[in-house]
Symmetry: D2
Subunit: 397 residues, 4 copies
């Protein structure tokens, strides 16, 4: 119960005003829709004014009304939303896309072409060519594309990043990543349509767990160790539930970072009995870090030759970057909603900076931008290519 610091989040907005915001997808009963709204509305950075929330237009309108969206701004589909909002002087400036994977690319492209900033669920696209096309459009128009790597904004991730940057670990040698749950050990998709699309290439794209899970710790590793670039990669993937083939429900990836560092990533949906197991271990010459998303208020620091240390969120011994986003004192648990809220806050700041043409400010904001989105798509492409060749090393391009 450390109620003592001043420089915390207390609801004061870092931007001048709330952004006019619309949602595509994420309707009634959607968990992901709820976390998007919780994050966006948390500290009044966004104002929900329009929505095309549901494939079923009636249900979408009904839910929109519950959420306080005006009747004439509850649209039947994303095309109608983009057109309708474009026609208004007070139309939305930014949309969130929380629809199945196969629609991310066309909707994002359409939204960008309509001049809107975009916040999109991952994967941004199915191919890196598509993702780069989106980047080009966004750059041309000065628009922000945020990709919701929502685990990346825990304060302990900032602390890990600061520790690596400070040299506390020495040169990084190993990056071990895991995201391996067990919820799909059995073919649960046979009975549950909400899971079924995830293992159908038409809707899910070229991969299941590599894209759905593994890109999360991959993003975290890039945040914490920004200097590591993959040079070669090898992936073995399996479909333990055979009907999921060609999509994998388990995979192992080895990464050669070229500079003498090495990475591994295990991802699975058949890790029976496990909850998430999203973990990172960063091993340096002198010390290691270990982070686990199920217990995000703690970060383990192990300096060779010293007792292992358990760092706690909110404590003054942390780096200022790790303290800046506290919403409550140390000891109290924050959770995933806070990480998402901070992500949305940063995207709002990025959008404001873009709107104001303030490139210096924009450069200083660490948020999951279109490049992070591309990086994930490209990584999955390489993994699938390696796996489909029999699990061989392939150069990273």
């Amino acid at each position: 119960m450390a109620w003592a610091r001043d420089e915390m989040i207390d609801g004061r907005r870092k931007t001048g005003r709330a952004l006019r915001w619309g949602m595509i997808g994420g309707g009634q009963g959607s968990q992901i829709g709820y976390i998007h709204r919780s994050a966006a509305l948390r500290d009044r950075y966004f104002d929900l004014q329009a929505g095309a929330l549901d494939l079923n237009p009636e249900r979408g309108r009904s839910f929109a009304a519950e959420l306080g969206i005006a009747h004439d701004r509850a649209y039947a589909d994303y095309g109608a939303l983009l057109a309708g909002e474009a026609a208004r002087p007070d139309g939305v400036e930014v949309v969130t896309i929380a629809t199945p994977n196969n629609t991310h690319y066309p909707i994002t492209r359409a939204a960008l072409q309509a001049g809107l900033h975009v916040i999109c669920e991952k994967p941004l696209t199915f191919t890196s060519a598509e993702a780069e096309e989106l980047r080009n459009i966004a750059q041309l128009r000065g628009l922000i594309v945020g990709v919701t790597y929502g685990y990346g904004f825990y304060q302990t991730i900032e602390q890990a990043r600061a520790l690596v940057a400070s040299g506390a670990l020495g040169k990084v040698r190993l990056v071990n990543m895991t995201f391996a749950h067990g919820f799909h050990s059995a073919p649960v998709e046979d009975l549950n349509p909400a899971i079924r699309w995830r293992v159908d290439p038409t809707f899910a794209g070229p991969s299941y767990v590599l894209g759905d899970l593994a890109t999360h710790p991959l993003y975290l590793s890039q945040v914490i160790c920004p200097d590591l670039k993959i040079r070669r990669l090898l992936c073995a993937r399996q479909s333990f539930v055979a009907s999921r083939a060609p999509l994998e429900d388990n995979a192992m990836v080895l990464m050669d970072y070229g500079c003498g560092a090495f990475g591994t990533l295990w991802t699975s949906a058949v890790n029976a009995g496990a909850m998430h197991s999203q973990k990172l271990r960063i091993v340096g010459e002198q010390a290691s870090l270990e982070w686990w998303d199920e217990f995000p208020n703690q970060l383990r620091l192990e300096v060779q030759g010293q007792p292992a240390q358990v760092l706690e969120r909110g404590m003054p011994y942390l780096h200022p970057e790790a303290l800046a986003d506290d919403r409550i004192g140390g000891g109290h648990p924050e959770g995933l909603f806070e990480s998402w809220a901070t992500m949305y806050e940063r995207i709002a700041c990025a959008i404001e900076a873009a709107q104001q043409g303030d490139h210096a400010r924009l450069a200083g904001i660490r948020y999951p931008d279109v490049s992070a989105g591309i990086a994930g798509v490209r990584w999955v492409e390489h993994c699938v290519r390696s796996a489909d060749k029999g699990g061989v090393w392939i150069d990273y391009r």
Copy 2:
């Protein structure tokens, strides 16, 4: 990553409309103010329309503007707020009081007398006589008083309550409680005014850690084991930082529940190096439960003769009461803000039920009501009395 259930919180409101809400205290830089607002606004149960946020009226008005409160509803003090809102046809229906302890009683009384529902920080009052007076006023006018025992609405607490009610533990024998941090091991109040008032009887009342910390796990114990009634109690309290006397910074309480059950509670602000240590262990004839507020997504169930079990929030094996308040699937960590949001949601439901005279519905809502507020005050009174007599057993009245 269990994205599978339907009956979760997704932003749909269980009440007909948002309540018109005002805040007294909890201004800029106040952590507690921020968590009250985060909780109240989370799912649109409350609409912040008025405030007397700060002892410094200018600062209070400035912050109110940032929060979107209209200029004419940003008041200099609580008296002005109550008068001003009473004069409006659309005045607030409910106020939250997040001011220092010594003001809870007069402000709550004034707000009730003005016909408002009240959500008040604990302790509700300094004496049980005062607290009972508030209850009488509230009952007479059909008003709700919520007391913010904000740890009580974790889903794992609901699960613990359901397990005890189901008889899974057998008859409860022991209730061991702890809330013992180390942040005030040194006389930090000498330098920090935000802490100083907590050890000054004028502002803090007759106790420090007994009232500030211990009533939290006490409330949890009452939620989980509603049948246990204290018959006798013994308290030893110490002021390890001598300048805090007569207020204690450490205390141990023994409780005889009369029915053959026994309880203990350790509370401290000098438990050097500890974060919170808010823990409960409920020991029954056949099994025990263990809960720790720093890791609220887990609940440990130990059945004698069987392997210990770690229950996880969000999992289908839990009781429906423990699943009803999920905001995201199991594996993802929820935190303190979710517990508070659920508390506020329930208080909103209680207020609506009271407004509609729906006593049956009201009786079915478990929220921290005025009786819970009285219970905490009375317990502290008994502890102080026992301690001041030298740590003797006293009958509980």
Copy 3:
């Protein structure tokens, strides 16, 4: 896998020769007998030459033969052993007594009167008067009495002692102790004679868990904080399984150390689902220590304002006293048998020092001596007295 240090236990004996040793009790099927033998024989400090192992002489002789005891030195009872060995020029020098509690006093007295050193299970006696009588006899004859507080010789206990002595914690304020298992939550003694005597005052003495369990962490607290002396004490005890009354199966003890420090101890045999829960937490002005006997290779050090540290047995950052007794490098788990072996090693050294009249050496050996045995008996006496008066404070004499 730290295979690096030289100054470890590698089987070299610190005494000149093995002591001629006999056992009374601890026969076939006795776990406690096995751990005594394992400890005594571990590094050849003792040589098992005689025994009166069993109430059933035939079974005792048979088991003695299996253990390599000569036929003529396998006795029917302790009287025969003492007489028989006294008659031999090469008779045993020391006996271990591992019989039911009610026999400890007479057998120890007889052995001392026969000029033998004694290693006795706790409790040494039922009354402190008896225990002091034994001390007097031992002192008069220059004999060693060791009392088997077998948890006290983990290296992490030495580290805790060294840390407190070094001032790393500052002045000690709180000592919280627990030893609370759940194995006797139900009246298992009804079916199991091996447990029945523990709840029968005739065999067990004036207490059950206070004597059987609680004196263990009490001893540890005295080892770690030798300066703390109890001034007043209060005990509440319960018999949750009613047929155990007057013996308690659960108790809570508060201790006022007079110097401004305060202690608590919870002991139980009805802590359903718990294994041991033998834990100590020592809270000082600046830091706390936490130790748990189920994980004795770790010691937690929490310095206020710093990340919590997990100290590991065997690591060079520990105090030399904590490293001296390592039998294998850090990372490898040692267990209870090693703590016992070190205890026996020290008792052997003490006996050799006594035999040689080397008082300086004797004074330098920390082993569980007759004073430690008396301290446990006296503490139980005070607890029982306080509890039987209704749980009142009584002065400690």
Copy 4:
């Protein structure tokens, strides 16, 4: 403190007599020598009668004397020992070889040719051809070769094996293994000769951590999942401390078990700050097991859809195989010395069975036999071959 079961180890020998035993290597200051002796002598299965303990004959003889070895049976080297003992009617029957890796093959061969049973440190040899030669000699002469995979005899390993055999996990899909410490993160061998030989191919063989560490969890995986046979394997190895090349201080191995199961193994000596991290996770269709050598009294069982369970050594809910080797009741920690003692006990039983020509009994004893020794050597050969080809898949022969 479960003192209740009868069928535990209490010092009664399962063999008819102690074996006459000699030691080669493992002299003064050798940790590994001490654990061999502690294990062999623990329950009188072996009687230490001869030794060639040290490269320095004087030091070896001096230490032999301390250990109670007769002067004329303390030899200058292994050749003298084999010759001297062969010449005696009461010469040793079995020798333990605890010398540097490069000598294991010639000494084992010589001992077998002298008609002695052998207990040898791993790796048994540098090449599988050599290891198979040893097997042939042993088979021809009816001799036992035990290879000291000392982690394999924890009761929790037996429980894991029993759970897999019982089908509790369903078909095994994944085996994830780790043994990754950080003690050699820096080039500590520059200063410490006891480490230097481990990274010198002349003494250590073709690998460092693959042979020294990784074969341990590999053996455990073979014990727990005896049906899994590696079909293909891929290994990437690194020398993060460059002077160690060609020997690796880190490696990652992927294993295709052919039957649709997949394995991974990470081993390292540069996992900075880690103690051992020797862990296994066995993932089946319905449940997973997790084991960690630093906490060997616990085994985690995670059934998909149920709360995770923490199984404790010594508890009646375990399989009989897992209870048979208990030396003390549950709750008390056993450690590495107990696992080794049980391994030695089983090797003694195997030797007795071989001496008696009792093949049925021999077949029923699970001990680390020459085939286990060969398996480890062969696995390292495959790993090195794959790594040296650039980390490619190679068929397993």
